[in-house]
């Protein structure tokens, strides 16, 4: 730590109707890991976009190693040594890994040399990647590796990471942290954005906290509790989810012998999955991304049809029913991919509310849409789940990820489902909002719904699940009570579901 690498002085950026950053100032030292904390919409993304040259500040200035720094475009920022791992929108599905990496570099070497360097660097840092695979076929975790490798190949002085761990498994997070510490020891500064406060405590030297675009404080994460940091972000006391222990009622959902070939040739086939969920119970399903989570959600939501006996609700076989027929009987789902799967990006929130809520909320009659009721349904969701948006007429894509996630989960919860399947319910959502989403799932269970929560976030699963299982290569481990499970046992379940299956059968 020899000196100040980047000094941010009074940066302000206003958009019509909202001040994204209001005179934000802080310094990043050389070789430190600096955390940037804040709720969704606190202005973190705008701030890093200014450093990366994608957005120009209205006022204020930046100083890079003592020199005035105002990158007119990302190319200039990259040339100075700034690299960024994006949360969204920066990979090209139809191109292969090497091509994606080349696009993020100023002077990429020949493809063959680049491919061997990708192999070399990716193995060095324990993030193995095949440079010739098409990115569209990779799992979320693998895609992130592509982004990270793209940055590492440029020898950055400052690496900006926007929520890098949200899609990684605990093991992958460990590997990433090793990578980051190695980079830090080589003198690279890291600006780290995350909602996961425990990670920040473990990794970061300093933290700057933003609230509503303003810098509201700094702290040393290692000496501050996660709770205190969360309260600084929110500016209020934090509610932790509380549960009223409801003893298991009757079996609502019964899945037996579910096998499914995925529709996408690179998906994971589901192999002979068995489980039951009782009324009032939350079943948590963990596992590394790409081990059948998407396929299981599809089989339960009705997107993928199965033999009718494989999925039963209250004893009725429903495997052959499509999503709308399942919604009629109260089986709802909220998939992982918010834009494009859970919500139609260019349609308004009202229209999106109609898409899944039409049947249970009686929003249509004789083929006509009742817009008045639909609008009030959408506004109820916005109110109940604290979705921050100027209005229900806004397009889904205009919402930040966390806000849209609150809307998508709220839309299903507000329909009072009998069975609710959620995949990654709090991905990219800030601590306070995540807590309220989890609380809403717990409340829903308390009212007697059967809930399946698929997640990569083990802390989340341990917090809300009654029982826990893990997916591995399309197989499900034995289901065990969540209380008292140790991390070692969970790791064994996630890695060794094959062996578990023997004892299960």
């Amino acid at each position: 730590m020899t000196g100040t690498l980047l000094s941010i002085q009074g940066l302000t950026k206003a958009y019509p109707g909202v001040v994204a950053n209001d005179t934000v100032s802080f310094d990043i030292q050389e070789g430190e890991v600096h955390a940037l904390l804040g709720e969704n919409g606190a202005g973190k993304s705008t701030l890093v976009k200014m450093i990366y040259g994608l957005v120009k500040p209205d006022t204020g200035r930046m100083v890079w190693k003592g020199q005035e720094f105002a990158p007119p475009e990302p190319r200039a920022a990259r040339a100075s040594g700034v690299a960024m791992v994006f949360q969204h929108f920066s990979l090209f599905d139809a191109l292969n890994v090497a091509e994606n990496v080349a696009l993020g570099m100023e002077n990429p070497p020949q493809m063959r040399d680049l491919a061997s360097r990708i192999r070399e660097v990716s193995e060095n840092y324990g993030l193995p990647l095949d440079p010739y695979r098409t990115v569209g076929d990779l799992s979320a975790g693998e895609r992130q590796r592509v982004e990270i490798i793209r940055c590492l190949l440029q020898d950055p002085k400052l690496l900006i990471m926007d929520e890098p761990t949200s899609v990684l498994t605990p093991q992958e997070v460990d590997i990433l942290f090793k990578t980051l510490r190695k980079l830090q020891s080589e003198g690279t500064a890291i600006l780290y954005i995350s909602h996961k406060l425990e990670e920040i405590r473990a990794l970061c030297d300093h933290a700057t906290i933003l609230r509503l675009g303003k810098n509201v404080g700094t702290c040393t994460p290692a000496e501050t509790t996660a709770r205190d940091m969360a309260e600084m972000m929110v500016g209020d006391t934090l509610q932790t989810p509380t549960r009223t222990a409801a003893e298991g009622g009757e079996v609502i959902l019964d899945v037996s012998g579910l096998s499914l070939m995925p529709s996408n040739p690179f998906g994971t086939p589901l192999k002979n999955i068995h489980f039951t969920v009782r009324a009032g119970e939350i079943l948590g399903l963990g596992g590394v991304a790409g081990n059948g989570q998407d396929e299981l959600l599809a089989a339960l939501s009705g997107e993928a049809l199965t033999p009718s006996d494989a999925v039963k609700v209250k004893g009725n076989a429903i495997g052959h029913l499509g999503p709308n027929q399942r919604r009629d009987i109260g089986v709802l789902a909220a998939p992982e991919e918010r834009l494009g799967h859970a919500a139609a990006p260019n349609m308004s929130l009202v229209e999106n509310a109609l898409l899944t809520g039409a049947a249970r909320k009686n929003l249509t009659s004789n083929g006509f849409v009742n817009w008045k009721d639909t609008t009030s349904f959408a506004e109820d969701i916005i109110k109940a789940f604290d979705v921050r948006t100027p209005g229900s007429d806004r397009a889904a894509r205009s919402l930040s990820g966390g806000n849209l996630q609150k809307f998508v989960i709220g839309r299903e919860v507000m329909q009072n489902p009998e069975v609710l399947v959620v995949n990654q319910p709090t991905w990219g959502v800030d601590a306070a909002a995540a807590a309220s989403i989890r609380q809403s799932l717990l409340d829903l269970a308390a009212k007697g719904a059967a809930i399946i929560c698929i997640s990569q976030d083990l802390d989340e699963l341990m917090e809300i699940s009654d029982r826990f299982g893990a997916l591995n290569e399309g197989r499900l481990s034995a289901i065990r009570p969540a209380a008292g499970l140790t991390i070692d046992e969970i790791g064994l379940m996630m890695g060794g579901a094959h062996d578990m299956e023997v004892s299960h059968a």
């Binding site: 990302p74 929108f89 696009l103």
Partner: protein, 306 residues
């Protein structure tokens, strides 16, 4: 009926000529679509190129100047499309259709004084000995330069898309314009250049019809080749060599069915006339059953709002 009147060597030589306008227009459109823009104005740009090239070569007496003028004419018309779709953010489908209608009208106006005029002839390749070889000579070594240019262009576009930085940026822009923007590439600039390239190729293809294939000017003489080019790009799965194959297949069957008509084959003329369209589409549909799909941002309007 006398099938022996059909000379296979001449048939192959003339199918290459018949295919070239289609090939040029389709390769141009392929580049445009790879950048994420759907320009339905190919027919309009071809016919404007046809008359611009015809008029200039008649006035100057130089077929080469005519071809250059055709490329400029097609590119100028595509400027209009680029302005509408990239700066005024107009709908690409509607703008493209308007471009075709406008081009057909404009070319009829420009061509009023040129009906019945004969343009200067374009020299064909004539290498001593080699061009006179039996079979190989007429097929490979006795065409006009534009035909060779069309094949060269196909190879160049294939190479550029697959191996060069420019091609990679172009594909990236067409695949995901938000990501390309986030990485600092100039989406609008790339697309405008691609649109101009497509316009120039379509113009050249049009002039090939009016200066070399038919050599004369009649209104609406492109006769739907621009639309075939659009379909060809899709059915060829946005792959340059498949475009070449499709164009030659279409040209070949077209020439063959004309020969069959002349030979008096006992099939109704209507069936023969539709055969190039049917067979080309069937073959390319069968070939395009792999998983390659359209560029991800094709036809979507880009606005750097984020």
């Amino acid at each position: 009926m006398d099938l022996s009147a059909i000379n296979p060597v001449l048939l192959i030589a003339s199918l290459m000529v018949a295919a070239t306008p289609l090939l040029l227009a389709a390769i141009g459109e392929l580049v445009v679509e790879k950048s994420g823009v759907l320009n339905l104005g190919v027919e309009g740009m071809m016919i404007v190129g046809a008359i611009a090239g015809f008029a200039v070569s008649v006035e100057t007496g130089s077929p080469l100047l005519g071809l250059i003028a055709a490329m400029i004419g097609g590119a100028l018309l595509s400027c209009l499309f680029a302005f509408l779709t990239q700066f005024a953010l107009a709908n690409q489908v509607a703008s493209g259709l308007a471009l075709t209608l406008f081009g057909l009208g404009l070319s009829a106006l420009m061509g009023q004084g040129y009906v019945g005029v004969k343009p200067p002839a374009m020299a064909t390749l004539d290498i001593p000995v080699i061009s006179d070889l039996p079979v190989i000579g007429p097929i490979f070594f006795s065409h006009d330069p534009v035909l060779y240019f069309g094949v060269f262009l196909t190879a160049a576009v294939w190479y550029a898309l697959k191996f060069t930085r420019i091609g990679l940026v172009l594909r990236a822009t067409g695949e995901n314009h938000d990501a390309a923007h986030a990485l600092g590439y100039h989406v609008i600039r790339v697309r405008v250049i691609a649109i101009l390239f497509g316009g120039a190729c379509a113009g050249l293809g049009g002039a090939y019809i009016s200066l070399i294939r038919v050599p004369q000017w009649t209104e609406g003489m492109t006769a739907g080749i621009g639309w075939i080019a659009l379909a060809l790009v899709v059915f060829a799965s946005w792959k340059p060599w498949r475009v070449l194959l499709g164009a030659y297949l279409f040209g070949g069957i077209n020439v063959l069915q004309l020969n069959l008509q002349a030979a008096g084959v006992a099939i109704p003329v209507e069936y023969l006339a539709m055969s190039p369209y049917v067979i080309t589409i069937v073959v390319l549909v069968i070939m395009s059953r792999d998983k390659t799909s359209a560029p991800g941002s094709l036809g979507r309007i880009f606005h750097a709002s984020s």
